[in-house]
């Protein structure tokens, strides 16, 4: 039983926008099978997703453009199903199957 739990994954889509796609193989949309629980057995939340993306999906060595001090870096918005993550519990939001998580860099040019 514990075996099947450990391999269980949650299918989600992860999008990058506003330049962040450059860190992820220049691809704006990724289908991700996220382990349902983290190494400590806790259900997958956004914090876990972020570390998973850094370890498994990021192609660019400049991780500091995405995370700083193991949190998402200032100037990046996180959207859960197109709503600001502050409406959903931020890093503690529990990922649901078929969620869409969007990371978008805030822009300042004009």
């Amino acid at each position: 039983m514990s075996d099947t739990i450990e391999v269980a994954t949650i299918p989600i889509t992860v999008d990058f926008s506003g330049g962040l796609e450059m860190l992820f193989d220049n691809q704006r949309r990724h289908s991700v099978s996220l382990p349902a629980v983290d190494s400590g057995g806790k259900p997958a939340d956004i914090a876990f997703l972020i570390s998973h993306l850094c370890e498994k999906l990021m192609k660019d060595p400049r991780a500091e453009l995405f995370v700083l001090d193991s949190h998402i870096r200032p100037g990046i918005l996180v959207l859960i199903n197109d709503a600001d993550w502050e409406l959903e519990g931020e890093e503690d939001y529990k990922i649901q199957p078929r969620d869409n998580i969007l990371f978008v860099s805030t822009l300042h040019g004009g």
């Binding site: 999008d15 926008s17 506003g18 330049g19 450059m22 704006r28 949309r29 400049r62 500091e64 453009l65 700083l68 870096r73 200032p74 100037g75 990046i76 918005l77 959207l79 197109d82 709503a83 600001d84 502050e86 409406l87 969007l102 978008v104 860099s105 805030t106 822009l107 300042h108 040019g109 004009g110």
Partner: protein, 313 residues
């Protein structure tokens, strides 16, 4: 601005006829535009198209502030300038074009940059502010002043192949008020600037003309609807439409792809939260004041250049 303070003259009737017949606009909306004062901060890639549609629509008083001069590398996207005006102040160049398009509005040039010292005096003269600037320090400054002076803010930004647009502080509520349904300010949505090393300007990173152009035109569209329909005023009656997308505004993001045509992900509408209780500028215990800003508190330059690891996006 009271929309009914005077009549339209014949020139105005003819010039604005094609927008006055649009359902929901009418003579009342047109008079509201004529009696409105809009400040456009930045006369570059956003400010050029934004100001053209603001001027064309007949907004009565149009202030434009920018300290830069026209350069040849601006002209692929800054369509209100011209090769023969290279070297002129951008505000003078742009107003020259706008006067040709529509001489009826009063144009007020501010040929210098917005600073913590001059911002409140200038912004206080206007009904609505359009943030068409290119750096985060000025963006936070503009928002803070708009909170304190209770001005609605239409904010846009663009770089390379991406654009963003959001209507903030509309209708404006008193600083610290937490009545349900208060609209957020720029800081509520974008709490902290990115580390300076991850930021680049359009000059350094480049931008496609139509991308910044789309955002500038969209800004004008939002400003015109706010002023013509008085969306920046408190609802006048309980029958007013309850949902104006303002209390929890939409951040529009535009993604331009050089490799494929317009598609399902070109535009995305993202739902932001309302006013934040702990917002530095508009929240419950905010200590932000006009006097403080003028005397260097907060320090916008330092806020936007907090040291971080050495990165380069």
């Amino acid at each position: 601005a009271n929309g009914c303070s005077r009549r339209l003259d014949d020139d105005e009737f003819e010039r604005y006829s094609r927008q006055m017949i649009v359902p929901g606009m009418g003579k009342e909306g047109q008079l509201r535009l004529i009696n409105s004062r809009v400040l456009i901060i930045g006369a570059g890639g956003l400010g050029c198209p934004a100001s053209m549609y603001i001027a064309g629509a007949g907004v009565g008083t149009i202030g434009i502030i920018d300290g830069d001069v026209v350069e040849i590398s601006n002209l692929h996207r800054q369509i209100g300038h011209a090769t023969f005006r290279i070297g002129l102040k951008k505000v003078d160049s742009l107003i020259q074009h706008l006067m040709g398009l529509n001489h009826l509005p009063k144009y007020i040039p501010y040929p210098f940059h917005l600073t913590p010292q001059n911002a409140a005096d200038i912004i206080s003269q206007y009904d609505l502010v359009m943030d068409c600037t290119d750096n985060p320090a000025t963006r936070y400054l503009i928002s803070d002043i708009c909170v304190l002076l209770r001005k609605p803010l239409v904010s846009a930004a663009s770089i390379q192949k991406s654009g963003q647009l959001i209507v903030l502080n509309c209708p404006p509520a008193p600083q610290g008020s937490l009545t349900p349904g208060c609209a957020p300010c720029y800081r509520c949505c974008f709490k902290k600037p990115p580390p300076p090393s991850s930021m680049v300007s359009c000059g350094e990173a480049g931008v496609m003309g139509p991308v910044v152009g789309m955002m500038g035109v969209a800004q004008a569209g939002e400003a015109i609807k706010i002023l013509a329909s008085a969306l920046h005023m408190p609802p006048q009656s309980p029958t007013d439409p309850p949902e104006r997308n303002l209390h929890q505004p939409t951040l529009l993001i535009y993604t331009y792809d050089l490799e494929s045509a317009v598609g399902p992900y070109s535009f995305r509408a993202l739902k932001m939260g309302g006013r934040k209780k702990n917002c530095f500028a508009c929240g419950e215990n905010s200590t932000l004041t006009l006097e403080g800003i003028k005397t260097g508190n907060p320090d916008y330059v330092q806020f936007c250049s907090a040291p971080t690891s050495n990165v380069n996006l």
